[in-house]
């Protein structure tokens, strides 16, 4: 296999305003499509991330790995980029013979962290009612004009978007995080 290291869309760019925005890619990401009740799904997600099957709209964490619920038949598994191939193998093994799709989408995504004051930053870009968000919720939404997903961790947040619009989303987040503009 290859010995080259992939690079993220913005190569670790960061911005500091009233909070810090950072490109934290590349992260390993696997998109799994399967019905929640299909045999082997819990084993597959467990093997890939150490997490249980995430309940509706939730994202579960186990160390560096996360498992998020994306739709009634779609899950997003996140892990260090070096673990993707092994995780795909583990999923294939656990779900052998069961109808499913698991594909490496690491390169299709950009990932940003908002170090603090995340609600203020995201409330300027996303029609999200933060008071209605449950703890551990993975919110699929939009940031201004593009699709995105995020989850909160206390006052911080992690934002996932498509790689092609990484610069746009970084610029949006930076605009919303400009010093002195906190809501």
């Amino acid at each position: 296999m290859s010995n080259m290291m992939p690079v993220s869309s913005l190569n670790g760019a960061s911005f500091s305003g009233y909070t810090r925005i950072r490109d934290i890619g590349p992260l390993g990401m696997i998109s799994v499509r399967a019905k929640a009740d299909v045999a082997g799904l819990d084993g597959a997600i467990k093997a890939a991330t150490g997490c249980a099957v995430p309940p509706q709209r939730q994202i579960l964490r186990n160390g560096d790995c996360l498992a998020g619920w994306m739709s009634p038949d779609e899950y997003l598994l996140i892990m260090p980029i070096g673990q993707v191939d092994a995780a795909l193998d583990a999923i294939a093994k656990a779900m052998a013979g069961q109808h499913h799709l698991a594909v490496d989408v690491s390169g299709a995504r950009a990932v940003f962290s908002i170090d603090s004051h995340a609600r203020s930053v995201l409330a300027k870009l996303s029609p999200t009612d933060f008071d209605a968000m449950k703890k551990g919720e993975l919110r699929r939404t939009r940031l201004a004009q593009v699709a995105a997903a995020f989850w909160l961790d206390g006052d911080a947040a992690t934002v996932v978007c498509f790689a092609s619009v990484a610069q746009y989303v970084f610029d949006l987040l930076s605009h919303a995080a400009a010093a002195g503009t906190e809501i």
Partner: protein, 1003 residues
Amino acid sequence: MSARLKTHGRLIDRNAPQRFTFNGRAMIGYAGDTLASALLANDQMLMGRSFKYHRPRGVVGSGAEEPNALVNLGTGATAEPNQRATQTELFDGLQARSQNHWPSLNFDIGILNNYAARFLPAGFYYKTFIHPRAAWKHVFEPIIRQSAGLGPAPTARDADRYEQAYGFCDVLVVGGGIAGLQSALVAAQSGAKVILLEQSPHFGGRAPVDGDVIDGKPAEEWVNTALETLLSLPNVTLRNRCTAVGVYDHGYVLAGERLTDHAPNAELPRQRLWRIRAARTITATGAIERGLSFAGNDIPGVMLASALRDYVVNYGVSAGDRTVLVTNNDDAYLTAIALHEAGLSVPVILDARPSADGPLPSRARSLGLRIETGRGIARVLGGKAVTGVETCLVAGEGAVLEKIDCDAVAMSGGFSPVVHLYSHCGGKVVWDEGAAMFRPDPDRPPWGADGAGMVIAAGAANGHLDAAAALEDAAKAGARAATETGHKVKATKAAKAEARGDSPLTPVWIMPQGAPPKLRAKMWLDYQNDVKVSDVQLAAREGYESVEHTKRYTTLGMATDQGKLSNINGLAVLAESLHKDIPAVGTTTFRPPYTPITLGTLAGEARGEIFQPLRRTPIHAAHEAASAYFEPVGLWRRPYTFPHMGENHAQAVSREVKNTRANVGLLDASTLGKIMVKGPDAGRFLDMLYTGVMSSLPVGKCRYGLMCNEQGFLSDDGVVARLSEDTFLCHTTSGGADRIHAWMEDWLQCEWWDWQVYTANVTEAYAQIAVVGPKARDVLNALGGMDVSREALPFMGWVEGTLGGFPVRIYRISFSGELSYEIATPAGHGMGLWQALSQAGEDFGMMPYGTEALHVMRAEKGFIMIGDETDGTIIPQDLNLSWAISKKKADYLGKRGQMRNHLASEDRWKLAGFETLDGSVIPDGAYILAEGLNANGQGNTQGRVTSTYHSPTLGRGIAMGLIRGGLDRLGDVVAFTNLAGAPIKARVVDPVFYDKEGTRQDV
């Protein structure tokens, strides 16, 4: 003369002078002033000229209703026209200029229109500009454009920052007066999540000015306590300087927050657009005083009684030493009392009612003020300023009883509840005969998604003008909103105000009621658009019965203030002229925004670099470094060509084509859509989606396919690779990826939900690079790591491996007709692979090429392009692609559509190639001429060009196009339209211009 008083001014800080300029003249105001109050303090009553007649105008109101005092603020990149001086907070360094005058505010040529007023009646535009026809363009329009209009649009790019924000709440309270505060308190203390918006910098509204007493305390004290309570509650958000401008379906409310208008700071956003989703909205928006229609009511110095009071109490500013008050209600007496207490003179109070014995008139009388009942103003004297009034009997025809010197007139025709927000989304109003006002109809509110009314009016906005009634109503509104949003209302004690016990008003729509035409022609209804009583009456005489038609005919209420002062007076005059009741005439439609909102605020962050998302491939930076010229492809930016120094684009494209055909070229094809389709039914699914058969494709092979919509029209095309027994990778066009993915999911989720198929759009997971040309194999071999020989990787096959250290999947597919490898690698390796290939290709003369070279090369090969050869009306058969349509399959999407007689007709325009006889290039969009004329007398056509290029390979113009008869017409010479000259003759030829046998791609 207007001036600053030594006393009063609860909102200003006399220790903080603020320097500003008006028309270049330096002036000084205080912190807390509005621009209007500061101008008055500097004896600048004249603030603008009217729209049509250029009459001198002064400030009339003190808030959002102001029609006259509109100014240009700032200069250059921060210029903003049509700003209301009454709502503009003064700051040090403010620059304001008056509008709509030439050459100067004091001396304006346009005033000539005033003297020609009898030639500029209602409907003037419609009547005058019909004949002669030519005069519109050359005479009328230039003159109107010069003389009409408000402030000039800024010419420089807006230098300010803007942003948007989303808010959510159970109860949105609009208006921070005592009613809004009371509603918010009740709702919040019941546990509802509350957002309270106040358009001005200060909460409390009119109550502190009017001297209301609440819970035994002055209103201001109660307001402060209420604010403290609200601020202490975690479920309450208070925003001042934030105007709710529109209410929309599903409880959606837009509000504009002015963040730094009052303290400019280039680093911070100037304004913020709030997009609020509220389960219930309470409109505690107060009421706006109406003027009275008497002759000369627009002369600077004639103001609303409430505004005059505001200026004295809030800003310590008097409009003049001697103020005549004219009213039809008790409330206005507060102004006379306030003026008297400020040491100013009120020579007379003209009360249109037969008697005035309520508590306030009695108090005024006890202060020694002269009250004349049954009297009104016949005429205001003065030009650029009020010098006096002539009084008359309200019931008469305007015979002058007395001439009274004064320098200001305070007028009050009653109050109109601000029902705008209640009405925006369909809420209706009812006419309250006793109070002579339209108030929200509680039985016909704007309906919310839950089937119940989503907007609740409260306080004065609900017609409860008295503080006591307003507070009671507001508490009820707050409780109702809380209950309806699922909260249990706590039995909190609502605040109690002392009832004032006003006597009822008497509606007065024209003063005096029998005024002759001469007076009526000087009674202004709509100051901003210069609409007079006589105009509305003329419209009625000319047959306008609908208030909506009259509005448009006379322009009543169509200015930037949307007739906040004029609408009710105007429709009352119309009703009178039509001998109808006011409710039978009705109101015009209230539409958002309540007050104008800057376009920059609506755009928010969407400007400059983030005006719209720009999609970049993983290799984008390399193209920028190579000075590529980009073109938009959907939201992608793709290199159109890579010009060398001194080359124009045509030359660069020509070089790229020739080099690719002779040596090797490199193309970033990452934008190509890539959709993974997996499952036991994947083959069956693709057989339905594509016109051809995909289920028979062997693993390791690729096949070209066409997708049609249900109607049979060609929708997308691309190469499908079978990755494993149950997995396919479908390539789509660059612009089609998201659409086709959604199309697949639509069929899987809605129609064939029991088929076992999953899809994943992996377009961006991979960078894809095409290495194209006779030396392509040499370049890949130089990188090494994989066998890419014809035997190991034949045409239309694919292999996976490691190329030069990069994990890749290589497809032997060709869109150029040359030996071609399309190499997919995970996106994170895209840039690395591009650089490695560029380096490896140096020895083979490799150059990158852009989308234009790609297009030229595919056209030379006769390959179709979705969007060029197709336009949503083209079926594959039109493009001679019947070979890609399976005859064996029972069904595919589009099959039945293609059987409809029009699509199955032999007479359709079909694809052919075209070679111009003189070698020139056929213009884009050209039609093929046919004999005769059609029913409209236009020349007939028999086809059109779809792709047309100069072919560097052949050294001549080539084209593809559709022509009746298609390839049956081979050899015919036809004529293409040419806007630049004579029609261009071209011969119908085979659309494959280059390497017809296809040997070059299969080596």
